[in-house]
Each structure stands twice: as C-alpha cells, then as structure tokens.
Symmetry: C2
Subunit: 195 residues, 2 copies
Amino acid sequence: MQSPNPAGTAGRNPCRSFALGELIHAAGTPGTAWRIRSGAVRLDRDGSGEHRFAGLALAGDILGAESLIYGTYAFDARALGDVELEPWLEGGAAPTGESLLQILASFERRAAETLALRAGEAFDRVRQLMLMLARDRGDGRRQVLIPGLRDMAEITGLTVETVSRAMSRLRKAGQLQKHGRRFGLVIAEPVPANP
Amino acid sequence: MQSPNPAGTAGRNPCRSFALGELIHAAGTPGTAWRIRSGAVRLDRDGSGEHRFAGLALAGDILGAESLIYGTYAFDARALGDVELEPWLEGGAAPTGESLLQILASFERRAAETLALRAGEAFDRVRQLMLMLARDRGDGRRQVLIPGLRDMAEITGLTVETVSRAMSRLRKAGQLQKHGRRFGLVIAEPVPANP
DNA sequence: CGCCGCGTTGAGCCACGTCAACATAGGTGG
DNA sequence: CCACCTATGTTGACGTGGCTCAACGCGGCG
C-alpha cells in the first residue's frame, strides 16, 4: 500500500509520488522535509488510533519542516489526490533564513484559508474547498481530483451527508462537472465578487 | 488609542504593551517582528473595512514574521487581553535557521489548535478557547482575561448569543468563576481525559 | 456469489442562528 | 452630580440549516 517508488533513494530521481488516500508519512516516524510539487495533502494530529484534521498543504508548500529539528514528523500526512513530492534542501544544507521566512509566511496564509473552510454555510465551504484543490488549466477553467467525502467532511467540519448534498448542488448549479467518478471540472470563478 | 509607550524606541526597554482591544499593527503597514511575552493576539486578514479572523497567537509565538521579508505586515493584529511584546532578534541579526524552524513547528501546532476551535459543539469550543487563553497560576488553577464576546464569536465561528449562552453554562457548571466583568478563573482540567 | 466501503437521498429532530427586548457599564457633556 | 447615549452582554422565542438515522445503489474484491 506504500508508494510504488519507495522513497526513490536510487540517487537519480529522489522524488516520490502518491495516489489518493495513501499515507505519505506517519507522526512520530523519522524522515525529512519535502516540497509539494503538485497535489494536496491532508495533515492529521495524533497518529494513535484517532485522527483529527490538523491542516492542509497544497502545491508549493513544505511538508514536515518540523522534522528538521526533531528528526521525526509531528503529523500524519495523507494524499488527497495525486501527489508529487521533491526533497527540500537536497544537499542536506541548512535552509537559509530567507527561504524559511517565505515558508512561514505562506504557511500563515494557508492556515488562514483552511480556517475559512470551517465557517459560513455548508455549500460555500465545500465550494471553497473545491476551488482550493483545483489546479488551473490553460483555459480559465480548473480541474479537480475529488477526494473522498469523508476527507472533505473532516476538513470542512461538516458531515459526509451534508458534503454529498453540497456536491450535488454544485453539480446542479453547473459550478462543477464530474467526469468519471473522481474527476471534476470547476466552473466558478476562483474569487467571489468583491462588494 | 495607541500604545502608551509608543514603540519604546528610547533604547533602554524596547518592549511594548497593549490593553484589551487595542490594535497592535495593521496589515500593509511597515514594521518588524515581535515575540509575545504574555497575552493573546488575534490576527485578521484584509484590513480594508471587513475583517476576517485569520489566526490566534499566544505567549511565546512570533508576531509579524512575514515583515522580515516583505517589510510590511500581512495581518491586522489586535490584543485579546493585556499583551506584552518584546522585539524578536534585537540586534537586527538575521534569524538562525534553527530558531525559524522552531517558530514554524510551533506555528503548525497553533494553527491546528485554532482549527479545532471551529469544530464540535458550541459549548466545547468556547470551553476550549477559555483554556487556550488562560494562563497558569501556581495552584493548578488558571486565570483568564475574558475577551469581548464578539471576538470569541469570530474565533470560534459561532454567534455572540451562542457564546454568551455557553459562557453562562460554563459558569453554572462551575467550570468558570467570574471575578468582576472581565476576569475569570478556569477550574476545568487543561486537557480532557484521554480514552 | 456475498460482503464491504462508499456515495446518495429522504425523514425527522435539535442545536444553533436570527430577531427582539432589556440590563448594565462606560463615556461625554451639561 | 445627573441626563443621555452607545457599546456590550444577557435572555427568550422562534425558525432553520445541518446532524442523525436509515435505506438503498453501486463498484471492487475475495
């Protein structure tokens, strides 16, 4: 059930890729930091049986920065779609202050966005999550790999049923077109109108 | 309405202190980074009229780290109680990678906690917020400076009325004793039982 | 085949949002 | 000092959005 290219330690291409639902790393296990090349990752606190959603990491974000101090990961990380990782700081060189500050700033923004997914009406929350997970194609539209409803429910703080109903509404409203079971096309604008 | 000791640039004591409700800094304005000595700070996105809760910073956290790259703050910061700040990196020296990683790790944890304040039943959310804001006294009890209901509502994603009712329940349940209008004593354990 | 996990949809209920009335504290000017 | 105002907190009544419970379809897999 692990990655098809196990850590890719063969020297040439140290990147790793994961499919929807795969565990990228577990809290408490040793490892290093990665940059997300593409895809979305769900972070969870407390690997012991019970898992509580603790954050979202998207393309460009750094995964497991805390391992650079403590040596082990603080969160479970699970792929919410097709995820590609590349090692952060390949040479083992210490990260520069500049780059770390960039990480910190982007992390602050990401945390604020994630927080926003848990306030307001259910429909808007799910819609916003879709927009966050979507990646831009050329033509102004955006493509999503739709995660499991259970994941979406835990991220938004809703129930599976409510998320399902919101997804149905999105489809009926023409804001989301499904192609196959998992793929979708987001039609709505990335940013709602500014009053 | 600003701080009584304006930035304290007099050389000797560069610390700043703020009272409940005071604006510490506004998004977009220039400034530097601070460490929170004591108190709680609320971060908001988008200073233009409308403000949306974007995060919580507590004692020990760093405020405005993003200003070290961009020169300006990315968020509004407002005191949720009596807040004392000390400058971070006094000499203007660049922060070490080690310390930045510490910040990053603690920020991840804080973000996860803040997220947890927005899921579950209203009563538990408010209770949890009280526990986060409380500072330990010697005797196992904890003391809180209770922020405005409006702040608490925006942090937890509830309404003012619901927060008020939850606070009443906390009082009736003996989990919170009020001394005066703003001060409270938290009786409950800092950590709920672990099944 | 049967089983299981997942998504969907419906029915009913309840916690929370909404609206409203009122109490209290603090501020400001007389 | 009081009169007045505003911001803030409290409580009640009521409506509703989302949770709960349940049933069912579907696809994957042994």
